[in-house]
Every structure is written in structure tokens, then in C-alpha cells.
């Protein structure tokens, strides 16, 4: 299969689908379904063809604009490939969920497919320019999807989303411009290598003075907006609530992972040493993200806003794991226990990225179904007693909710467990305070279950139909995946662990 450039093919496929969708009018959704299904198959093929030692494989490298250090350089390790699979699953779910786009469906699905291409491109890029191109390519369709198909207050929400993300991108660009000017390279593996030997800092200091710390802060801020991390999260609730639910699935399921992925692929390899020095304030922000997200979710009445803040909370665990493992190096000795904790935390972070994507997308899908059945209702007080008229929906949504809560046996548990297993020895204070977040989330989820499924049935829900056959068939694989990963997390970790070891070996704190 060496002759076939799988990664290029994967990126081009949704772009071709988008072009096709534009000209097919009413059949755009079918085109999108076929394209996303093919993308998922291709992503799974890529997952099976990873190098066993956890290094970067399937590499494609060509000259592009050498004078600017720009190369066409693609490759994935298990981290990248897992994100490809996740992006493909979430997009497929989103297209599946969007079966009532009456207004310009061809444009809607073309934009969704462009967004998918942007995700694939940014998860496979190994050169800054290439990565940045696709990072921005995601932003444009996401903006228009909110702006044109969103709820009543879509205008301000889209603008806020755009401005925050754009500001984050600008900071990233400036930081990378500085790196390029000092090193003459935009290549991630090359820059990671320079950073691991300490040369990167020397070169940048020699060229630009002692700005390494500022560059690290800039890069962190750029990614923090996308994740989002407290206090850069304020764009999120409005954007998630105003976007049509299938688009929210994409935003939370896949796009938020671009930020975490950026931290792992770019920030830690290049600026690990600086991040380790800022570890304490960063941990405080991560814990704040966890706790604040949970408390804010508890205060909401709108299902979409509840799940939006819960996303903030869940991605906070990823941040907790990432910053906890950035322990400043002391001496030269190898501390076996430290390495085990770091590996556990990183495995947990990567699992959590995948699982949160699946679970959060599923939750917003359920919200979309409930809105459809009640003519747009989504306040928790507007529902009640749904388990009587819709037992299947209640059951399946209950599984997704319990998965989000972190119940053992469901997918979110192993990731969160590993993060806490790793973070506890590394920073027991941060881990302990974050447990508070777990407790509050549990209360929020149980409240949702009580208010929506139990109690008296309101009048407008009297004829609430249960899931029909097609919806059950569409949801079954997703719920099945939650159970599968919950019981057999090793399906993923067996491939991810070598990459984790490989990554940790190259990071210099």
C-alpha cells in the first residue's frame, strides 16, 4: 500500500465530497453520508497500518515553498490516527443527525465536509504552514454553520466564536514566525528534535533574546482558546447553544480536540521546558476549568448549555493530565515511578479525548432528537416523565449520560481513571481539588435524568414519540462503542501506549 498516499487521500476525499455536494442539491445529504462513511473506513484502515513501535508512520514529504520552510509533510502516530478515527465518527454522526436541513442543504453539507477535511488535515500535518492552513480551514465553515443555520442569537455567537479563535490563531502565527526566524524550519519533528536537545531555546535566545517564555505563553494561549481553558472559555456556551445541534456535535466532539492535540503535538514537544516552569499556574487554571465547568453546568437550565459546560469540565481533565505530567526535571537519574505516572496520565488524556468526543457528540444528538419532537424545546424544566412515552430514548440517553458521568463499564471511566491515577502522585493537590468537579458533575447528570425522564409528563410531551427504527439503528453502534471501550479500553491503549512512551521519551521538561 506504499504507493497509495493514504493520508492525502483521506484529506482530499471530504473536499471532493464537498464539491460534489454543492452541485447535487437535495441529494447533498446522501453524498455527505457516503463521503463520511468512506472517510471512516479509510481512517480505520490507517489505524491498522500504524508502525508498531509508536513512532510516526505513513509519512509523505515533498518540497512546497522551501524559502519559507514550507513542506508538504504528513504523518500520523497512534495519537493522530485516533483523532482521525474520532473526527470521522463524529462527522458521520453529525451528518446522520442533520436530516432536517431544509434551508440550502447543499451548502450545509458542503461546509460540514470542508470542516471534516480541515480536521483531517490538521491531525496529519507535520509542518506548521500545512497545519495552520487546515486549522483555519476548520474555522471558516464552523463560523458559517453557526451564522447561517444557528438559533435566534446566532449572529453575536458566531462573531464571538470567530473573534476568539482568530485572536488565538494570530498569537500562534506570531509565535511560529519567531520560531521560524530563529531556526529556519517549520517542521514539527525537526523542531521537536531541536527542543529535546535544548538547541531550540539556545537558537531562539541567540536570535531574539530571552523570549522563549513569551513564545510558550503565546502558543499555550492559542490552544487554550480552542480547548477551551479557563479563562478563555467564554465564547463556548453561546456558540454551542446557538449552533444547530449537529454542528455542536462537531464543535465539541472533534474541533475541541484540535486544541488538546495541539498541546500534545506542538506545545509540549517544543516548549516542554517552559511549560514545566509554569506548571503551578497552569495546573491552577486546569483545576479551575474542571471545577468552574462543573459548577457552571449545575447552574444552567438549558440542556445545550448544561452539556456545553460539561464539555468544558471534561476537557479540563485532559488539561489536568497534561500539565500534571510536565514535572520539571531534577537531576539526571531516571525515576521509574515518575515515568509510570506520566505514562498513565498521558494514556488517560488521549483516551479521554476520544471518549469525550463520542459521548458529548451523542448527548447533543439526543438533544437534537428531543428538540425535533417538541418543536425546539430544550430547557430541562420543559421536560419530564419521558421514560414512559419513550423508554428506548430514555434508556439509550441514560447510558450516554452515565458514560459522561464516568460510570465504570462505560467509555469515559478508563480515561478519567488513568488521568487521576497519573495525576495523583504527580500533583495530589490538583487531583484532589479536581475530584470536586467529578462530584458536581455527578449531581448535574443525576438532576438531568430526574427532571427529564422522571416526574409528571408535561402536556406538550404527551405525544412524545419514541425512537423510530432508523434512529435506533443509527444510535446502536455509538452506544455499542461506549460499552466496548468501557469494557475493553485495551483495544485503544494497546496501540496508544507505544506512542505515549515514544512521546514522553522525546519531551524535555
Amino acid at each position: 500500500m506504499n504507493g497509495i498516499h493514504l493520508l492525502t487521500l483521506l484529506t482530499v476525499l471530504p473536499l471532493a465530497g464537498a464539491a460534489l455536494a454543492l452541485v447535487t442539491g437535495k441529494h447533498a445529504r446522501s453524498v455527505a453520508l457516503v463521503t463520511t462513511f468512506a472517510s471512516l473506513s479509510l481512517a480505520l484502515i490507517i489505524w491498522t497500518r500504524l508502525p508498531v513501535d509508536g513512532s510516526i508512520g505513513l509519512v509523505e514529504q515533498h518540497a512546497w515553498a522551501p524559502s519559507l520552510g514550507i513542506e508538504y509533510h504528513l504523518g500520523v502516530d497512534a495519537l493522530g490516527a485516533l483523532m482521525l478515527v474520532l473526527a470521522a465518527i463524529v462527522t458521520l454522526m453529525s451528518v446522520d443527525a442533520a436530516h432536517r436541513v431544509h434551508h440550502q442543504p447543499e451548502l450545509y453539507f458542503a461546509l460540514v465536509l470542508m470542516l471534516e477535511a480541515g480536521l483531517f488535515g490538521s491531525f496529519t500535518a507535520l509542518n506548521f504552514f500545512h497545519w495552520f492552513l487546515f486549522w483555519e480551514l476548520c474555522l471558516i465553515p464552523a463560523f458559517f454553520l453557526i451564522k447561517l443555520w444557528g438559533g435566534t442569537r446566532r449572529g453575536p455567537a458566531a462573531t464571538q466564536f470567530f473573534i476568539y479563535t482568530m485572536a488565538g490563531s494570530a498569537v500562534l502565527l506570531v509565535a511560529f514566525l519567531a520560531v521560524f526566524l530563529s531556526t529556519g524550519s517549520m517542521d514539527f519533528p525537526r523542531l521537536s528534535f531541536l527542543a529535546s536537545t535544548g538547541e531550540l531555546e539556545q537558537m531562539i535566545t541567540a536570535h531574539l533574546g530571552p523570549v522563549m517564555m513569551w513564545l510558550a505563553i503565546g502558543v499555550l494561549a492559542g490552544f487554550a482558546v480552542k480547548v477551551p481553558m479557563f479563562p478563555f472559555h467564554t465564547w463556548l456556551p453561546a456558540a454551542y447553544a446557538e449552533a444547530p445541534s449537529p454542528v455542536t456535535m462537531l464543535l465539541t466532539g472533534a474541533m475541541s480536540k484540535m486544541g488538546v492535540y495541539g498541546l500534545l503535538r506542538i506545545a509540549l514537544p517544543l516548549f516542554g521546558h517552559q511549560i514545566a516552569r509554569m506548571r503551578v499556574p497552569l495546573l491552577v487554571l486546569a483545576v479551575a476549568t474542571v471545577v468552574m465547568g462543573a459548577w457552571a453546568a449545575a447552574a444552567q437550565k438549558d440542556l445545550k448549555r448544561i452539556f456545553a459546560y460539561m464539555s468544558v469540565n471534561h476537557l479540563g481533565y485532559c488539561l489536568l493530565g497534561i500539565f500534571a505530567l510536565a514535572v520539571p526535571a531534577v537531576g539526571t537519574g531516571i525515576d521509574k515511578a515518575l515515568q509510570v505516572s506520566q505514562a498513565a496520565a498521558l494514556n488517560g488524556v488521549i483516551l479521554q479525548m476520544f471518549n469525550h468526543g463520542i459521548t458529548a457528540a451523542a448527548l447533543f444528538w439526543f438533544v437534537a432528537m428531543m428538540q425535533q419532537r417538541t418543536g425546539g424545546h430544550r430547557g430541562i424544566d420543559q421536560f419530564g416523565g419521558l421514560r414512559k412515552p419513550a423508554p428506548v430514548l430514555a434508556g439509550l440517553m441514560g447510558i450516554a449520560l452515565f458514560s459522561s458521568l464516568g460510570l465504570p463499564g462505560l467509555n469515559n471511566f478508563p480515561g478519567e481513571f488513568l488521568i487521576f491515577r497519573g495525576a495523583f502522585p504527580l500533583s495530589w493537590v490538583a487531583a484532589t481539588v479536581s475530584l470536586l468537579g467529578l462530584l458536581v458533575t455527578a449531581t448535574v447528570i443525576l438532576t438531568v435524568i430526574q427532571k427529564v425522564f422522571w416526574g409528571p409528563l408535561p402536556e406538550h410531551c404527551a405525544n412524545f414519540p419514541d425512537l423510530h427504527h432508523g434512529e435506533r439503528m443509527a444510535l446502536a453502534p455509538v452506544i455499542g462503542l461506549m460499552l466496548l471501550v468501557g469494557f475493553l479500553p485495551s483495544l485503544i491503549t494497546i496501540s496508544v501506549n507505544p506512542t505515549v512512551v515514544n512521546l514522553l521519551a522525546h519531551w524535555r521538561f
Binding site: W64, S67, L68, I140, A170, L177, F180
Partner: protein, 513 residues
């Protein structure tokens, strides 16, 4: 004359000039009223020019300076009819060809004295080709002056808002700049004591440093006026706004590049010592280079800020040109490989993008809405009623703000990298212009196309009882052509960089090519 009769493949480029002037002549003889004939004839000549430009670009790949024609013209003064092309010329000729074709496409609906319009239009194109291909100083100046005349008539006859004022202002600024250039050139010719006005010979004439020190700023400023350098930029927005769409596209897209090209090919190449430090410095400014860099940066920031405050859609684009041309000038005075390369690429890129923006604002939108006031456009629901225009503007806007994947990103990035190598503070200041650039495009986009005001589009159309005229094929073709080129160059900048880089290297090493 033999070289004309036995053309090698690159030297066909010279025929782009002849063809355009021949076209102008032919159109002057088209009888009045035969508008369709005039249009198709103009398109044919423009496409012919583009074909020659493309052919010359491809044939010239990997070659340095190629002489196209060299005939003695005024032997007593050493003046030759000398046409030649290096990588920079070939890229800019390509830009001219593209802009010419797009301009004809977006002028398809001109009914007033169509044949004269296109005759003047092609004369302007011919003169622009001439400037980019002249390697004799006198010849270059002649073409440069020829270009001014058609500009005046195009604006004064077919223009809109305050057209006589704008046309006159443009001409006065142009002639003032030319006068400065002419003084400098005559002085250089006499000082060098050479018997040639060839650019290559003059560059090697070894002009004294003290002479270069005063001649450089004179000639650079003279050319930079036409490139819209602050504070001599004021002709540009009024001229762009008053001009008919095709002329705006050419003015912003190509004519401003003539000025920048002159700055590089004449001022910097002939008087490189004029950029040396003065030996003292005042508030951080210690050479002409610093002076012009500061003016360029003021232009970048000022143009963007003023664009942000405009109420007229076309003025937004007019001032954005001042801002983007600031990047060209900044890149030129970095005097390093990457900065100057970036400046030339930015000339190309801005030529394409500004043309596209003016076409959307002046032709596609204005000819249907008959207003350019953002406040009035806001109530028209143009996104619903002219979706093609809205999406075209989204793409052009992304290109304009320097979104990666479009030509502007690579060009401005190179300019910034080059500027950083000289003085990081320049980059910090210019970056403000980029941020404001996002803001004004954003604002114009929101107001002009995505206004959410009541009543809804449907109600509005019923009240007014009419729909906008459908988008025509020349408009679609023009938008696809320009947007496609910007995207292609943005994704594959190597195709132009391979031509520009060696030429810039030779030029900076001394020697006019």
C-alpha cells in the same frame, strides 16, 4: 529588426505590447453602436495578451534575463528600444494579462461609447506591459507616461462619484511623481557620463555615493507616489472609487504596481548606496531606508484604520489598497532576499485580490443595488438575494486578510520575515495593520451581505416588486479566474517564487536585472 523576425520563445512576450496597442487601434475603428463586436474584440485581444504572457512565463522558467528586442532608437543619446524580461518582469506581465482579461469580463455591461472605452483600456494595458518589459530607462519612462493618459479619460468619461475631480487629482499626482523621476533620471544620465540609457549599463556606471544619496529619495518618492505611499496616497482612494470597475481593477491591481516596480527596478537597482546609513540618527531613523520603512508602515496601519471607518463600500476597498501596498514598499526597503521576494509576490497577489474585490463591489453589487452605502446595503439582505456575490466576497475577503491558502498569506509572511531581519519593531507595527485588516473586511462583510435587519428578504422583494438581475457568465468567469489564481498561488507559491527568487538575487547583488 532581425530579432523581431526570429523570435525565440520568450521574446514572444514583446508581442503582448504590440498586440495590445494594435487592439486599441482596431477598437478605435469599430463603428459606433457595434457594442457586441467591441466587447468580443477587446476580450480577444486581452486573451491574446494573456496567452503570450503565460507562454512567456512558461518558456522563461529557469532562465535569467532574456533580451527580447534591442534596436537603436536615438543613437546620439544612446537610447535603445530595449525590451527584456527577467523573473520579476515575467510575473508582473502575467499579472497584467490576468487583470486585463478579468477587467474586460467585468466591463461587459458598458454601453456608453463601448469601442472607445475598450480602445483606451487596451492602450493602458499595452503601456503597462511596456513598463514591465523595458530595460532602457528612457523607454520605461515613455511607457510610464503613456499609461497616464488613458487613465484620465477612463475616469473622466466613464467614472462615477466626483469623476472630474478624481481624474484631475490622479493626473496631477502622477505628473508630479513623473517630474521627480525625470529630474533624477536626467541627473543620473549626466552624472554617469555613459552613452547608454540601458538599465544594466547605468547600474554598472558607478555613480558616486553622494549623488546616489540625494537622487535615491527623489526617484523613489516619485515612483512611490503611484504606489500609494503615505502621505502621497490620497489620489488612490478617490481615483479608485470614481473609476469605472474595470479601471479601478487596473488602477489598484496593476497601475499601483508600476510605481512599486519603478521603486525596485530603477530607484533601488540604480542607486543602492542611497539606502546606506547617514552616519547619524534621529529618533531611531538613520537612513532613507528607515524613512521609507516608517512611511510604508504608517501606510499599512493608517490605510487599514481609515478603511475601518468608511461608510462607502468601495472606499473600504480603496483604502485597503493603500494598506496592502504598504507591505510592498516595506518589503522593498528590507533589501534582503526574502523581503524583496515577498514584495514582488505581494504585487502579484494584491493585483489579483484587489481586482477581485473591486469587481465584486463595483460591478456585481453596485450595478444591481445602485448604492454603495454600507448602511443602505445592510437593509437589503444581499446574502439571500445575491448569494454568489456574498460567497465571492467571502473568498476575496479571506484572501485579502491573508488567510493561509491564499496568495496574500505567503506574500505578506515573507515581507514580515524580511522586515523582522532588519528591525523587529517594524513587524510589530505592521502587525497592527493586519489585525485591523481582518476587522475592516469583517465589518464590510457583515454590513454589506449579512445584515439581519427587518423586513426579511422575501418581504423586501415583494415590496419592491423586483429581483436583482441574474449573475451573468462574464461575472462568474472573472470571479473564478481571479479567485482561482489567488488560491493556486497560495497553495503552490513555488511556481512564482522560482521565477522571482533568482531575479531578486541578481538585482540585489548589483546590476539592474
Amino acid at each position: 529588426m532581425l530579432s523581431i523576425l526570429r523570435p525565440n520563445s520568450v521574446s514572444l512576450l514583446a508581442y503582448a505590447i504590440y498586440l495590445s496597442f494594435a487592439g486599441a487601434l482596431a477598437l478605435a475603428f469599430v463603428p459606433k453602436g457595434k457594442t457586441a463586436l467591441a466587447r468580443w474584440l477587446a476580450l480577444a485581444f486581452a486573451v491574446g495578451g494573456l496567452a503570450l504572457a503565460v507562454q512567456g512565463f512558461i518558456a522563461g522558467m529557469g532562465q535569467g534575463l532574456v533580451t527580447l528586442v534591442d534596436v537603436p532608437w536615438v543613437p546620439s543619446m544612446g537610447i535603445h528600444f530595449l525590451l527584456a524580461a527577467d523573473g520579476i518582469s515575467r510575473v508582473l506581465v502575467l499579472l497584467t494579462g490576468l487583470a486585463a482579461v478579468a477587467g474586460v469580463l467585468f466591463s461587459w455591461n458598458i454601453d456608453l461609447r463601448t469601442n472607445e472605452f475598450f480602445a483606451l483600456y487596451l492602450a493602458l494595458i499595452g503601456a503597462v506591459y511596456g513598463v514591465f518589459l523595458s530595460f532602457d530607462l528612457f523607454l520605461l519612462f515613455v511607457f510610464y507616461e503613456i499609461a497616464i493618459v488613458p487613465k484620465y479619460f477612463l475616469i473622466a468619461i466613464w467614472g462615477s462619484t466626483r469623476r472630474e475631480y478624481a481624474a484631475m487629482k490622479l493626473v496631477i499626482y502622477s505628473f508630479a511623481g513623473s517630474a521627480m523621476v525625470l529630474i533624477g533620471l536626467l541627473a543620473a544620465y549626466t552624472t554617469a557620463g555613459s552613452h547608454s540609457t540601458g538599465l544594466v549599463e547605468l547600474a554598472h556606471a558607478g555613480l558616486p555615493a553622494s549623488f546616489q544619496m540625494w537622487c535615491f529619495p527623489l526617484v523613489f518618492t516619485g515612483f512611490a507616489i503611484l504606489a500609494g505611499m503615505w502621505p502621497f496616497h490620497t489620489w488612490a482612494p478617490t481615483g479608485h472609487v470614481a473609476a469605472p470597475t474595470a479601471a479601478s481593477m487596473l488602477l489598484a491591481g496593476v497601475v499601483m504596481k508600476l510605481g512599486a516596480y519603478g521603486c525596485l527596478r530603477v530607484a533601488i537597482a540604480l542607486f543602492p548606496r542611497g539606502l546606506d546609513p547617514w552616519g547619524f540618527s534621529f529618533i531611531g531613523i538613520g537612513s532613507w531606508r528607515d524613512v521609507f520603512a516608517v512611511l510604508a508602515i504608517i501606510g499599512i496601519v493608517y490605510g487599514a484604520l481609515v478603511a475601518l471607518a468608511q461608510t462607502d463600500f468601495k472606499f473600504v476597498i480603496g483604502y485597503s489598497s493603500v494598506s496592502h501596498m504598504g507591505f510592498v514598499l516595506l518589503g522593498l526597503v528590507t533589501l534582503n532576499q526574502i523581503g524583496v521576494t515577498g514584495a514582488v509576490l505581494q504585487m502579484f497577489s494584491h493585483g489579483i485580490i484587489a481586482g477581485l474585490l473591486f469587481a465584486i463591489v463595483g460591478r456585481i453589487v453596485y450595478d444591481r443595488t445602485h448604492t454603495r452605502k454600507l448602511a443602505e446595503l445592510e437593509t437589503m439582505h444581499l446574502y439571500k438575494r445575491l448569494p454568489f456575490a456574498a460567497w465571492a466576497f467571502v473568498i476575496a475577503g479571506m484572501a485579502s486578510i491573508g488567510m493561509p491558502g491564499f496568495s496574500g498569506f505567503v506574500a505578506e509572511l515573507q515581507v514580515l520575515v524580511g522586515a523582522w531581519m532588519v528591525n523587529p519593531w517594524w513587524v510589530a507595527a505592521a502587525a497592527v495593520g493586519i489585525v485591523v485588516g481582518v476587522a475592516y473586511i469583517w465589518r464590510a462583510l457583515q454590513k454589506a451581505f449579512f445584515g439581519d435587519l427587518l423586513p426579511s428578504a422575501h418581504v423586501l422583494e415583494e415590496e419592491q416588486g423586483h429581483h436583482f438581475a441574474a449573475i451573468t457568465w462574464p461575472e462568474v468567469t472573472g470571479v473564478v479566474l481571479l479567485a482561482g489564481v489567488s488560491l493556486f498561488v497560495g497553495l503552490y507559491p513555488k511556481i512564482l517564487l522560482d521565477a522571482i527568487e533568482p531575479a531578486v538575487k541578481t538585482l540585489l547583488a548589483g546590476g539592474a536585472q
